[in-house]
């Protein structure tokens, strides 16, 4: 379980905090979606939840990040391994660029942990199997499609065997096929017990994936609850978030005096 409590974070060199009064909880096996207009603090929340802010990028954090009951304040970056990992939207900056095959790429993380060779090999096999990309093992990373690269980047995170995974817009740069691939992979990941925090603009995707959704506006969380409820909140558009297609359709029908349930029955 990952808990952010009373968190404010100010980037180094900036006067105002990017996020403030933030409380967020992520339970095991849960997928939580994070939505909001751009520049409202979603990426900052990801960096804080992953511990990289402030451990890697500096800045000032007030409040606490607690993972499985242990507080993460003051810990070095490499102590985060196994607890939480973060993935970003651009697959090419996450691949190391020095691996000659996908297998090697995914193995880099476990190698850095100083594990013994048999353990490294097992972790790589497990990570590739979890995302169903074992058939890409021999492929050179340069010859992967966008969606495949993103899956390899996520597999590289999984090989660290974190109990919590934070993903900042994993499908932003992918085509519909790539988005489907990643969506399916994340679903099976959560089914296996990993806790996921995903930032996305694609509310249709979050509608199918997430158990809970939180809305970020102006540096803090303004709504947090079951996905169905939050995505149907009429205030979403005011927060700069586009509701899923089914919600927009139902709302538009009601606005015209039609009842969605009857009208949409086949």
């Amino acid at each position: 379980m990952l808990v952010l409590s009373g968190v404010s974070y100010r980037y180094a060199g900036y006067a105002r905090p990017a996020i403030h009064d933030l409380d967020l909880r992520l339970d095991d096996g849960e997928i939580v979606g994070l939505v909001g207009a751009n520049e409202t603090g979603k990426s900052t929340i990801c960096l804080v939840a992953s511990g990289l802010a402030p451990a890697s990028i500096g800045g000032q954090l007030t409040g606490s990040l607690t993972i499985d009951g242990e507080t993460m304040t003051g810990r070095a970056v490499h102590e985060l391994a196994g607890r939480v990992a973060i993935g970003f939207q651009n697959p090419s900056t996450q691949l190391s660029g020095v691996a000659r095959s996908v297998f090697e790429e995914v193995a880099i993380g476990p190698m850095n942990l100083g594990l013994e060779i048999p353990e490294i090999l097992e972790r790589v096999h497990r990570a590739l199997a979890r995302l169903r990309i074992a058939d890409l093992a021999e492929r050179p990373p340069a010859r992967l499609s966008g969606g495949q690269s993103q899956l390899v980047a996520i597999a590289s995170l999984l090989a660290m065997e974190p109990r919590h995974v934070v993903l900042d817009e994993p499908t932003a740069q992918l085509d519909p096929e790539g988005t489907r691939l990643v969506g399916a992979a994340l679903q099976s990941l959560a089914e296996a017990g990993t806790a996921l925090l995903i930032v996305e603009h694609k509310t249709d995707l979050l509608d199918t994936l997430c158990r809970r959704v939180a809305v970020v506006s102006d540096g803090t969380i303004v709504a947090d609850g079951p996905a169905g409820e939050v995505l149907e909140d009429p205030r979403l558009e005011g927060w700069g978030v586009e509701p899923p297609a089914r919600v927009r359709l139902a709302a538009a029908l009601r606005a015209r005096g039609l009842d969605p349930a009857t009208v949409l029955a086949p």
Binding site: A85, T93, M111, N112, L115
Partner: protein, 197 residues
């Protein structure tokens, strides 16, 4: 390739030393310049040394896989972070080229004339160079976060998946070359090679 690179240097050294070196034996004369035997000797020594260096570099390039070298160094005790930086640098050029190509295309699409007058082309330097630097810096920020997540900052050794085969032939060759070097140095110092002039 390294041979071709030394050619201009070699040619200019030869021209300068053959004709300007003070010496007693004059071979031939062109205008006010005398070509001396001492000049030829000096030039020959320099050229041979240049050749030796460039051939050695060329031989290294032909026989050594740089990535394998870096990992082997790591196995012998060099820090894993050095190994990564060295390897990443080796791979950096193709990605820099690709980045620069995209940037150049984007600026040409905005009317930057890469085929115009020198003045016009000089004005094009900032729009071509600045985005390369800025986007590389942004890139580096995100890359280093991604590396942190995968444990690159963890102190200590790691067990590498790779191992290089050290064949008997290669081991013998290494010993033989070291021995040959020793022999040559001893002979040179003991005066077994006479001066020509």
């Amino acid at each position: 390739m390294s041979f071709y690179l030394t050619l201009p240097v070699a040619v200019s050294v030869v021209l300068v030393s053959v004709f300007t070196r003070a010496g007693t034996t004059i071979l031939f004369t062109i205008g006010p310049f005398d070509a001396t035997l001492q000049g030829v000797d000096f030039a020959a020594q320099i050229v041979i040394r240049l050749l030796a260096i460039s051939l050695a570099i060329g031989l290294y390039g032909l026989t050594t896989d740089p990535t394998a070298l870096v990992y082997d160094l790591e196995r012998r005790g060099v820090s894993p972070r050095f190994a990564f930086v060295a390897n990443a640098t080796l791979q950096a050029v193709p990605s820099m080229v690709e980045r620069a190509t995209t940037i150049q295309a984007a600026q040409r699409a905005r009317g930057l004339d890469t085929e115009g007058s020198p003045v016009a082309r000089a004005r094009g330097v900032m729009p071509l160079v600045a985005p390369v630097i800025l986007s590389s810096l942004l890139d580096v920020e995100e890359r280093s976060l991604a590396l942190d997540v995968r444990g690159f900052s963890r102190p200590g050794r790691r067990n590498l998946l790779w191992s290089s085969r050290d064949r008997a032939v290669e081991r013998v060759a290494r010993w033989a070359m070291s021995a040959a070097l020793l022999v040559v140095v001893v002979l040179r110092l003991s005066g077994a090679f006479p001066q020509l002039v």
